[in-house]
């Protein structure tokens, strides 16, 4: 049987505020346990939450960026459950009137584009942290994180593969960091993903039973966990079993998902509007003011790159995956470099190099100005692309400019017709067999001759010129 995979994601993005959503305690990461808590965060009796304006504004900013509806009245609700890192016995969240409803995000998978619809995004507070190491058989509780503002972003079940789910998560991650509403640090838990996964026979309309994979904190784990889960569900069904609705955890060591709880012992959260917090009334003026401050969005910038710099849609998508790479690209292009050439290098050699060394753009030893000079030396034919790679390598491990390296290593491409003609004549004289083959109509033989010329020039002859002169001489 052919199976179709259905995936929806819930993402918790930590809103980058200085203080907590309902108290004046700091949200800075990494402090000593329990040093960043206010009376509200530890739920002392008689204290009241006061909402952080910036958290609300950042949520609205997100809603506007995805073309969603901003609810003019938005209500906080209590989500009731008992766990020691949640001292109030409830989490302040939103149920019926979330701040953001609807909207969509366009993702690129390979060459294909796809739109993922969003259900909603709502404001809520984070819980504290339980430390299960052995404290004489007890659990330690750190409430520094309690009350940190979160935006929970819920997608429709629009994704059909792990690759699409990862593309969506990456696009969302790119967008929230682009908008400056979340620092996106996945190791520190600023961007956490839950994946709802189900399978159904191809062509069937009703969804299969889903299982939810909790708390994935890297794109790699997201992909692994979903792929494992898909395989597990299909095998279970094909063996005549049934998938039970459940919450599962992903174990990165084994690469497997394991059961956390089934529907029977699922929480019953008994939501109700929080009487401590009045409904939020959001005026058109407030929304308009936030709209006016929205930066150029990734999708808009992508379209502009295609239009203005004549790069392919695929390249433009990569160049707008995050704000840093987009700025890097524009800084290079601003130095009189052709867009297509800059795109090829950034998405090719440069990206591969960063990847291989597990570096991010911020760690790049080559800044846009140095990069631009290298690329200009390709445009003006000083360097062949092969020589340029050599110069690029040298630039990576030094602070020299492209010109310094070309000078030092004598890498200047030879475009002098006389010099190349001499090498071509030598190659023709030395390879009568190849000459014969070419004249007999074998195109490949020309490449062999060109290779000889390149070799004789130590890679410095202009390859296009070599081909041209070879053809002239053999005509």
């Amino acid at each position: 049987m052919k199976w179709e995979v259905v995936i929806g994601l819930e993402v918790h993005a930590q809103l980058s505020t200085h203080s907590k959503i309902f108290s004046g305690a700091s949200t800075a990461f990494g402090a000593e346990p329990n040093t960043q808590t206010a009376a509200v965060d530890i739920a002392l009796p008689g204290v009241l939450p006061v909402m952080n304006r910036v958290a609300l504004q950042k949520a609205i900013r997100f809603g506007l960026a995805i073309g969603a509806k901003i609810n003019q009245t938005s209500v906080f609700a209590r989500k009731n459950y008992f766990y020691p890192d949640l001292p109030k016995g409830y989490q302040i969240s939103q149920l019926d009137l979330p701040i953001v409803e609807g909207g969509e995000i366009t993702i690129t998978v390979g060459e294909a584009e796809k739109t993922v619809r969003l259900t909603r995004a709502h404001l809520e507070e984070d819980a504290g942290k339980s430390l299960h190491e052995d404290f004489h058989g007890m659990t330690g509780i750190d409430l520094n994180r309690a009350g940190t503002p979160l935006l929970e972003i819920v997608s429709e079940p629009d994704m059909r593969s792990a690759a699409e789910a990862v593309a969506y998560a990456r696009a969302l991650h790119g967008l929230v960091t682009w908008l400056g509403i979340c620092d996106g640090n996945m190791q520190e838990g600023s961007f956490r993903v839950d994946a709802n996964v189900s399978v159904r026979p191809q062509g069937q309309e009703a969804f299969g039973t889903r299982r939810e994979i909790k708390n994935l904190n890297s794109f790699r784990f997201l992909e692994q966990a979903i792929n494992y889960e898909i395989q597990w569900q299909i095998e279970t069904l094909e063996d005549g079993g049934r998938v039970q609705q459940a919450t599962v955890l992903f174990d990165p060591d084994s690469g497997e998902t394991r059961l956390m709880r089934t529907k029977e012992d699922a929480h019953d959260y008994r939501y109700f509007p929080d009487p401590d917090l009045l409904p939020m009334k959001i005026s058109d003026q407030e929304v308009a003011a936030i709209q006016a401050e929205l930066p150029e969005l990734p999708s808009q910038m992508k379209a502009r790159f295609v239009e203005q710099y004549a790069v392919s849609s695929y390249d433009a998508a990569l160049l707008t995956a995050n704000l840093e790479i987009a700025r890097f690209f524009e800084a290079i292009v601003a130095e009189q470099v052709e867009g297509k050439l800059a795109a090829n290098w950034l998405n090719g050699e440069f990206a591969a190099r960063l990847n291989r060394e597990e570096k991010t753009l911020a760690d790049s030893p080559i800044n846009p100005v140095r990069f631009a000079l290298l690329l200009r030396r390709i445009s003006d034919n000083t360097l062949s692309s092969k020589l340029a790679k050599q110069v690029f390598d040298a630039m990576w491990s030094s602070e020299l400019s492209a010109d310094d390296i070309i000078e030092r290593d004598g890498l200047k491409q030879v475009s002098d017709v006389g010099a190349i003609e001499k090498l071509v004549e030598e190659a023709i004289a030395a390879n009568p067999k190849a000459v014969e083959e070419f004249r007999a109509g074998k195109e490949k033989a020309l490449n062999a001759l060109a290779g000889q010329v390149m070799k004789a020039s130590k890679g410095k002859a202009n390859p296009a010129q070599v081909q041209e002169i070879l053809r002239q001489k053999l005509a």
Binding site: S19, S26, N34, Q36, A55, D96, M138, G140, L277
Partner: protein, 95 residues
Amino acid sequence: MSLSAADITRLARLARIGIEAGEVDAVANKLNNVFGLIEKMRAVDTTGVAPMSHPQPLGLRLRDDVVSVENQREAFLACAPQTEAGLYLVPRVIE
């Protein structure tokens, strides 16, 4: 709508309220009276009336995003029955 003894036991467990077996019927009775009242209210036609989430006809006041709270750990931890290494200690929770 009427609550059974099983419903009462489940609700008590969810709310972490200890109810003795002998109390279940009395609690069920009281809660069912409340549900009677709710039934009466549900009979009212509320078509076109927005649900009220708060009795005050006001909007939420917001505060500026400023860190205004100092470290009060020692004072807070002093309220807890058991602490160690700056942490509150609670009976072991394993999920």
